[in-house]
Structures are given as structure tokens and as C-alpha cells.
Amino acid sequence: MGLKRRRAVRETPAPETPPVITGPRALVTIDALGRKCPIPIIMLAERIGEVPVGEIIAVKADDVAARTDVPAWCRMKSQDFVWEETLPRGWAFHVRRNY
């Protein structure tokens, strides 16, 4: 069971200087903007097969629940959550297909 600490102690008010996170680009990007969870997860599960094993698929979503659900789905389904890109509206979640 994964007991790894997810969030360290958070001080508030926090000095908000988020590092600019970048990562490998996706081969296929799914647009789930405007769709509520679990739709972005359903779309990701359906379409991950469109990229070869080892490649990256991204799902764009603006339901804040997706920020928790995409990494949690990856953990449950043994896929790799690679990085989260901040978009002008929402985020693009990058996932590496493992199998």
C-alpha cells in the first residue's frame, strides 16, 4: 500500500512562486475542457490505447477534481503520471502509457 506522504506541511500565507514545470510533450491530446469528472477520466481510459506503450497522452480538463483524479487513476491503473501543465484555462495532465 502506498503510504508515501503526499503533501508536506504547508505554511500559509505561502510565498506563491510556483516553479515553471515542464515535461515531455504528448503524442495525443484529449480535450475534456468543460467536462465534469469522471468524464475526463473516462476519456483518458478509453483513448490511452491510441498512443504506443512508452509514449505520452495528455488530457486537458478544467474540473479541479481532475487534478486529484488523474494522478489517482494512474496509480490505480499502473500508468505513469508524468506532469501537470497549467493552461490559461485548466490543466493538461500528461500520462505515460505503461502497458
Binding site: M1, L3, R6, V9, C37, P38, V64, A65, M76
Partner: protein, 377 residues
């Protein structure tokens, strides 16, 4: 219909009903007055106070009744911060506390105070060492729930209380989910609870402030409840709350292990019967009556509606069931799936047959909803 939402509220215990009806007759008068009917009312109130205090390992003069568990938390948090503002304006809270704690913390922050939120692991448990490390010389108060209301995980209250004692920081323990069901551990400075969670009537909360704890009401002065809680006491409801706590606590010594075995059954079977289900919360360090699981690709609200149609009243931490569109802060802090979430919390006397029937209908309910949204597998 099977009621599986005891964590929201436990059905009124027969002992509470009986005590309530009796106290409506004998406990209607103002307990602060000096004539006969007032004395009877006061006697009932003070007897109830002694009963509740004893159950929580506290003194009667440390124990006050509020109008709800939420009010007890608001008063406990804000009153301690107010009384200790010269010691400092720093507050420490767990990330998965009840919203009433987090909202009180938010207000403290808006008024210039600082708040440290201690994160939790995947099971929803704070790390006592991490909690201890968050305590500072200017920390006025620390808050930790006895057990989580959404996933049932028990918090390391004893260890955190020890750390708070060493740092000379008062600890408020929100015991709303465990009071009456599990023993209250010592070491706290303030304790809050809510009577309707143990089969008492709604509208009765408990705030215990230890003798040596600095506390001052954040509200305008009022002489009721040793100046801790404003307003005319609801004596009949308080009497019923105390009667329920005594009866419920005694029954739970026997019933809690039975309910816990039913919870184990759900924990074990649900992920086997239904594909892509994750049981969340600590498997061992947990409340006896509560289990939460999430079903991938299913909307929480749709699942609740379907289970209600099938005769099961359950709750969910999924966002679509809440007033806000944000997902449950508990599930978010744990890093677990926030959709398709089902919380099953068994009330006193829940029958094993009802749990069996629930497990029998669950796979079909989830399958139908997945088919509706086009999930093939």
C-alpha cells in the same frame, strides 16, 4: 430501506426518546431561576452534564452544552485563539479536519493570524512527527480530529497530544465521529462532540475546556453555561443526549465489533465484486462502523441515486453531491479518486442481511451506470 449513513446522523436512540419526553414535562423551566420547577430543570441539566463529563473523562464544570458540534468547534477554536492571542497567532490543523475547523481557521487567517495545515498520507492519517514539527513557540492552538468523518481513519491523537504537551500548546480534539462509539483518549485540552452522532437528538453539541486551558468566549457576554455558550439551554434535548450516550456507549461495547466485522466484509468484497473499485481509509486504524470506497468512471451522485432506488441510504464525498463544485477536501488531501465515492456508515443494530443485500446489488448498480456513460471496461 437500509440506512447506511450513521456518520451523518444516527437514528434517535429509544433511550433518548424516552428521556426527551420525560424532560419535556420536567425540564421546561429556566434552570437559572430559583423556584421549584427551575430547580428541577437545573437538576436534570446538571445530572446530564455529570453523565456526559464522566463519559469523556472530564469534570462537570469543564463541560458545556452547545447547539451543535459545529458551534462547539467554532467556540473552542476561536475562544482559545482569542484567549491566547498574546502567546501567538499561529494555528495548526490537520488537512482532513471537518469543514467547521477549516472555516474557523480561514477566518483566523483573514483576521491576520497564520495557519499551518498538516498533510495526510494515502490513508488519511497525519504523521505525528510532522504534526509536532508544525508546532512553534507562537502556536496558540492545534486541532486534530479523533477520526475522519469521510473515510473513518483514526488519527494518532495520543502521540499528537504528547507533542502538544511538550510544546505547551493546547490541543483541541474533534471527537464528533468517535464519541459514543470508541473510547475517548486523554491528553487533550479541549474536546468537542455532537449528540446526534450517538443517537441523541439534533441540536446538542458538547464543548469541554480543561481547567488549566486559557479560553475566552469570542462572542458577546452571556451568563449561560458558565459564560461559555450563549442562550437558553435546551434542557430536554440535553437530558436525552446524555441518556443516549450512556445507552449507546454501553451497547457499542458489544455492537462495535460486530459492525466492524461487517465493515471488513464490505472492505474485502466490494473490490472483488466490482472492477476498478478502491477502498480508501486505513484498514486497521479506523472507526468500527464506517467504510468508504470509490468506483472509477461513475458519478457519485448518480450512484447514490441508484443505491437509494435499490433501498440503500448512503453518502458520498464526491463533488457533485456537495454545495460547492470542489471535490471533497479529504479525498483531495489523501490523493485518492474523488468521483464515484460511496461512504457506508452502519448504525446501531444494522443487520448482516442488509449488508449482504447491499453487496449483492452494488455490482449491478455500478455496471448500469458505467454502461450509461459508455464505459466498456
Amino acid at each position: 430501506m437500509a440506512y447506511f449513513d450513521a456518520a451523518s446522523t444516527e437514528p434517535l436512540h429509544p433511550a433518548a426518546r424516552e428521556a426527551l419526553l420525560g424532560a419535556l414535562e420536567g425540564g421546561w423551566a429556566d434552570p437559572q431561576r430559583l423556584y421549584g420547577s427551575a430547580r428541577r430543570s437545573r437538576m436534570l441539566l446538571e445530572r446530564a452534564r455529570a453523565q456526559v463529563a464522566a463519559a469523556f473523562g472530564a469534570r462537570a464544570d469543564e463541560t458545556s452544552f452547545t447547539s451543535s458540534g459545529t458551534q462547539a468547534i467554532h467556540l473552542g477554536v476561536l475562544g482559545t485563539l482569542h484567549a491566547r492571542r498574546r502567546a501567538g497567532r499561529h494555528l495548526v490543523v490537520g488537512a482532513v479536519e471537518h469543514s467547521s475547523v477549516l472555516h474557523a481557521a480561514g477566518r483566523h487567517e483573514r483576521e491576520g493570524g497564520t495557519v499551518t495545515t498538516v498533510g495526510v498520507d494515502r490513508t488519511g492519517r497525519v504523521d505525528p512527527e510532522e504534526f509536532a514539527a508544525a508546532l512553534r513557540p507562537d502556536t496558540a492552538l492545534a486541532c486534530l480530529q479523533s477520526a475522519n468523518h469521510e473515510v473513518g481513519t483514526l488519527q494518532p491523537v495520543a502521540e499528537v497530544a504528547e507533542a502538544c504537551r511538550a510544546a505547551r500548546v493546547p490541543l483541541l480534539v474533534d471527537a464528533a465521529q468517535s464519541a459514543g462509539r470508541a473510547p475517548i483518549l486523554g491528553g487533550w485540552s479541549l474536546l468537542t462532540a455532537s449528540a446526534h452522532k450517538w443517537g441523541g437528538p439534533p441540536g446538542v453539541g458538547v464543548l469541554v475546556v480543561r481547567k488549566n486551558t486559557r479560553w475566552r468566549s469570542p462572542l458577546p457576554e452571556d451568563e449561560r453555561e458558565s459564560r461559555r455558550v450563549p442562550g437558553f439551554e435546551n434542557v430536554p434535548a440535553i437530558v436525552a443526549a446524555a441518556a443516549a450516550l450512556e445507552a449507546y456507549g454501553a451497547e457499542m461495547e458489544l455492537d462495535a465489533p460486530r459492525l466492524s466485522a461487517l465493515v471488513d466484509l464490505i472492505r474485502e468484497r466490494a473490490p472483488r465484486l466490482v472492477e476498478d473499485v478502491e477502498v480508501i481509509g486505513h484498514p486497521v486504524e479506523r472507526l468500527p462502523h464506517l467504510v468508504t470506497f470509490s468506483c472509477l468512471y461513475v458519478e457519485g451522485e448518480a450512484l447514490l441515486t441508484e443505491l437509494d432506488r435499490l433501498g440503500f441510504e448512503v453518502s458520498s464525498g464526491s463533488s457533485c453531491t456537495a454545495d460547492t463544485l470542489r471535490p471533497s477536501h479529504v479525498l483531495e488531501a489523501m490523493g485518492v479518486i474523488t468521483h464515484g465515492n460511496v461512504r457506508v456508515s452502519l448504525s446501531r443494530g444494522t443487520r448482516a442481511a442488509d449488508v449482504d443485500r447491499f453487496l449483492a446489488v452494488l455490482p449491478g448498480a455500478v455496471r448500469r451506470l458505467r454502461q450509461t456513460s459508455g464505459v466498456t471496461g
